[in-house]
């Protein structure tokens, strides 16, 4: 293998291209017309336009991407994050063309991508899930009876949902019927299937996830936990590794559970098992993401491993030389996502041209940026500009280092959320772990924006 096509854009494309360079691999970037001259296209060995700005016509255009891959003799395709990364048709298209897809098999993707099915699979294998339906539940009367039995609030989810869509929380039994019908309608419109399932809605939970790598030769390794509860509208803002304030035995159980799930799904390549963790430290399977994640660098910082390199090696059929006992965590890492948005204006997106860009640096500081100074941030895609990842020997050090790094970060030309991130890092609740996935919206908002 010597040429990798990166079927993505922005920061994750930069990330993947850099590891390709390190490994001596050629990289091909593909771009939409809106991303002409984007930073990742400039650092790739080759860059090819695949269509207009709208993702459906470019980054989601399997035919266009496969054509470029063939013409440019790509040996492998890395799908990155989002876009086609969890699309099993794309994986199959690669396979049919004899191009290595750097990710799991279509079979695992489909197995875990249908969330009602995944839920059933977990139940069958004694993996804890929140109370709810056995797999999908599409009959209203059955659903209502189950919801009444579970107790409210309940959550209705589209089986094929994703990206925070197709989800409704029902607090009032009276409203169950209308919401149930609404989710089914939305699900059909958005995901092409009206299949839904029901779960008890667990409150004040934390989002804890476990990174795994599976080599496809029967070896599954985990790389510990990440805490991702700092979310706004289901978008993570600050992530850390390892997840703090969890009893060691529970953490270990979650890790083992993630390995077991990967084994059950005959999983290959990098994946993440997401759990809900309640205040009394009970955890429940939420879903498994069959791709690399935005927050992967915190795991890399703590384990000293290049997960993108790991993905490429697995795709090349490498067998792990290490065993779980050889894998050791060291210290604590925090990632802050810096977005082009204005928290003081209700997080209004702020596309535009970067006029100047001063990056932090030094010991234990890593910056992964999708943009260079003077680049234009287009309105067509997500608002993330860069990520600042800080590593410290302790969590306190990682927090202090992150605050310092954010203080040194200076971007002019667009609004960014770095002060908001610092507000989180310096908050007593964050320091003491008194948080949950709705903490930013329910607690921090009221404090930060109380004068607004």
């Amino acid at each position: 293998m010597n040429t990798v096509l990166i079927a993505n854009r922005g920061e994750i494309a930069v990330r993947i291209i850099r590891t390709c360079k390190k490994l001596g691999l050629n990289s091909i970037a593909v771009y939409s017309e809106a991303d002409k001259d984007a930073y990742y296209t400039r650092i790739a060995d080759q860059a090819v336009c695949i269509g207009p700005a709208k993702a459906e016509k470019s980054y989601l255009n399997i035919d266009a991407i496969m054509t470029v891959a063939k013409v440019y003799n790509a040996c492998a395709i890395h799908p990155g994050i989002g876009f086609l990364s969890e699309n099993s048709d794309f994986q199959r298209a690669c396979e049919e063309s004899g191009i290595i897809f750097i990710g799991p098999d279509a079979l695992s993707m489909d197995l875990l991508g249908d969330k009602a099915h995944a839920r059933q699979l977990m139940i069958d294998n004694d993996i804890p899930v929140p109370m709810g339906s056995d797999g999908e539940i599409n009959d209203y009367d059955e659903a209502k009876a189950l919801a009444d039995r579970i107790g409210y609030p309940v959550i209705i989810k589209a089986s094929h949902g994703g990206g925070g869509g197709g989800i409704r929380i029902v607090h009032d039994p009276e409203k169950f019927k209308s919401e149930f019908m609404l989710v089914k309608k939305e699900a059909l419109a958005s995901f092409g299937s009206e299949s839904v399932y029901i779960e008890q809605y667990l409150q004040k939970t934390r989002h804890i996830e476990v990174q795994i790598l599976a080599d496809g030769h029967g070896n599954v390794l985990h790389f510990g936990t990440r805490e991702c509860s700092m979310q706004r509208k289901n978008q993570k803002l600050v992530e850390e590794a390892p997840a703090p304030f969890i009893p060691e035995s529970i953490r270990h159980e979650m890790e083992m559970c993630a390995v077991k799930i990967a084994e059950i799904a005959k999983y290959k390549n990098a994946g993440t098992v997401e759990f809900l963790l309640t205040e009394d430290n009970k955890f429940y399977f939420m879903e498994m993401n069959t791709r690399i994640q935005v927050e992967h660098p915190v795991t890399e910082a703590v384990y000293g491993i290049d997960l993108i390199k790991g993905q490429i090696q697995i795709a090349l059929n490498h067998k792990f030389a290490l065993e779980q006992k050889d894998i050791n965590a060291s210290g604590h890492a925090i990632e802050c996502r810096i977005n082009a948005e204005n928290p003081e204006k209700n997080f209004a997106p702020s596309p535009g041209r970067i006029k100047s860009m001063q990056l932090p640096g030094g010991f234990g500081v890593r910056v992964d940026s999708g943009y260079a100074d003077k680049d234009k941030i287009s309105p067509f895609y997500d608002s993330m500009i860069l990520k600042v990842i800080c590593h410290g020997q302790t969590r306190d050090e990682a927090i202090a280092a992150s605050c310092q790094a954010l203080s040194e970060l200076d971007i002019q030309g667009v609004d960014i959320n770095s002060d908001f991130a610092k507000t989180i890092l310096k908050h007593e609740d964050f320091k003491t772990g008194n948080v949950h996935t709705k903490w930013i919206e329910q607690v921090l908002y009221a404090q930060v924006f109380k004068k607004a």
Partner: protein, 142 residues
């Protein structure tokens, strides 16, 4: 790349739904537009050229009141595909009514009217992008 390969690609592309396709190898740049299926060998242009394309800031026609795009983004006439448009030509709207949605960076931003009046012209096309400051709606003059 051989001519054969190039034309192979063109034929293949011709069957697809996207409207433009660019291929660059070395100094050669091929741009294909689906509507004409024509192949043009065009010069590479610097980024600045793209930037210099004038923002379409339609001046208020005969002093007629208008609504401008508050942000660069994709224009949607309705709340969801298949739903009926928020407004149509001839509708009378009042201050605060939602006129359209602009999608920017995965955010759906409702554009509301800052005045009351009757809509004379709708300038946005569903699903197309508009530039910040571009006129979206022209109202009847008072």
């Amino acid at each position: 790349m051989s001519n054969e390969e190039i034309f192979g690609i063109i034929n293949y592309l011709n069957s697809l739904s996207f409207s433009e396709f660019e291929l660059e190898t070395g100094d050669l740049k091929i741009r294909i537009k689906r509507d004409s299926s024509s192949v043009k060998y065009i010069e590479k242009q610097p980024d600045e050229a793209a930037e210099a394309t004038p923002q379409i800031k339609i001046e208020e026609d005969n002093n007629k009141p208008s609504i401008l795009a508050p942000i660069t983004g994709v224009y949607y006439q309705s709340s969801a595909p298949g739903e009926k448009p928020f407004v149509k030509v001839g509708d009378t709207v009042k201050e605060g009514d939602v006129l359209c949605i602009l999608e920017a960076m995965k955010n759906m931003i409702e554009v509301t009217s800052d005045k009351s009046g009757q809509i004379e012209q709708i300038l946005g096309t569903d699903g197309d992008s508009v530039e910040e400051g571009q006129a979206l709606f022209i109202f009847k003059g008072e």
